[in-house]
Subunit: 105 residues, 2 copies
DNA sequence: ATATTAGGTAGGGAGTTTCCTACCTGTCAA
DNA sequence: TTGACAGGTAGGAAACTCCCTACCTAATAT
C-alpha cells in the first residue's frame, strides 16, 4: 500500500537530532558545517546522522567544490502523511467527542 | 509549537511491530492475547511493545476482569500530522515539478 | 480450595545506536 | 606546491533496544 515508506524513514525520524536537521533544511540547502554549528556534537556525528537521512531519502546531497550541500527531500514525508490517513477517523471522533462535552457546558 | 509531540511518539513508531499493533487496533479494541497471535514473538515481548505505546499515549488500556483491552488513541498521530505541515510545501513543489515534466512529454 | 488463564515484571544476552577521536581524501588559496 | 579547510570513514565505548525464559499476581472455572 505504501511500498516506499519503509522502516528507514521511521527509524530516521526517531532521533531528535535528525528531526532538527530536517527543520533546519526547511530554510533551504545547507552545508555540513552550517548544520553542525547548531548542535552540541562533533561534526563526524552530524555526518553520520546525515547519512541516515540520506539512506532514508529524506535529504539529498549536491557536491559544490569541497562543500556538500544538503537539501530536504519531502517525498517520504508525503508517504508518512498517507500512512496516517487510516488513523484520521479516530482523532476526528475524539475531536467530535470533545466538542460535544464543551457544548454541554 | 507541538508541546505534546515528543520523542516517545517517534521512538514508538520506529518499530515495525508497534506500527503493526496500531494497524490491528484500527479494527477496534483487542486483548493482549488477540494481538500477540499476529506475531511470531512471545507474549511478554508484545506486552513490552504495548507498554512503549502506552507511554507514548498511542494506546490506552481498560481492565475487564482478567483481560486488558487495548484501544487506539490517535491524539499523538494528529500531532504528528501537524508536525508534517511545514514540510508539505516541499512535496507540493516536487509534485508540481513532476507534473510539468509530464506535460512536456 | 485448586487449577487454569490473562497478562505484567525481572533479568539477561545479542544486536544496534550514538557518540567519540583519529585519520583520510579532495579542493582551494598562498 | 604546500598548507588549510570541507567533510567522509574507521574503530571503539557506553547506552539502549528487542527478544528471550522464568516468574509473579489477579481473576475465573471446576
Amino acid at each position: 500500500m505504501n511500498p516506499d515508506l519503509n522502516d528507514d524513514v521511521f527509524a530516521a525520524l526517531a532521533s531528535p537530532v535528525r528531526r532538527a536537521l530536517l527543520t533546519l533544511l526547511l530554510d533551504g540547502p545547507r552545508t555540513v558545517n552550517e548544520l553542525a554549528a547548531h548542535f552540541d556534537m562533533r561534526r563526524p556525528s552530524v555526518s553520520e546522522h546525515l547519512k541516515v537521512l540520506r539512506d532514508a531519502e529524506l535529504v539529498s546531497e549536491r557536491r559544490v567544490g569541497r562543500e556538500r550541500h544538503y537539501s530536504l527531500e519531502a517525498g517520504p514525508l508525503m508517504e508518512l502523511q498517507e500512512w496516517l490517513h487510516p488513523y484520521e477517523r479516530f482523532w476526528r471522533e475524539r475531536m467530535a467527542g470533545l466538542r460535544d462535552v464543551l457544548e454541554d457546558m
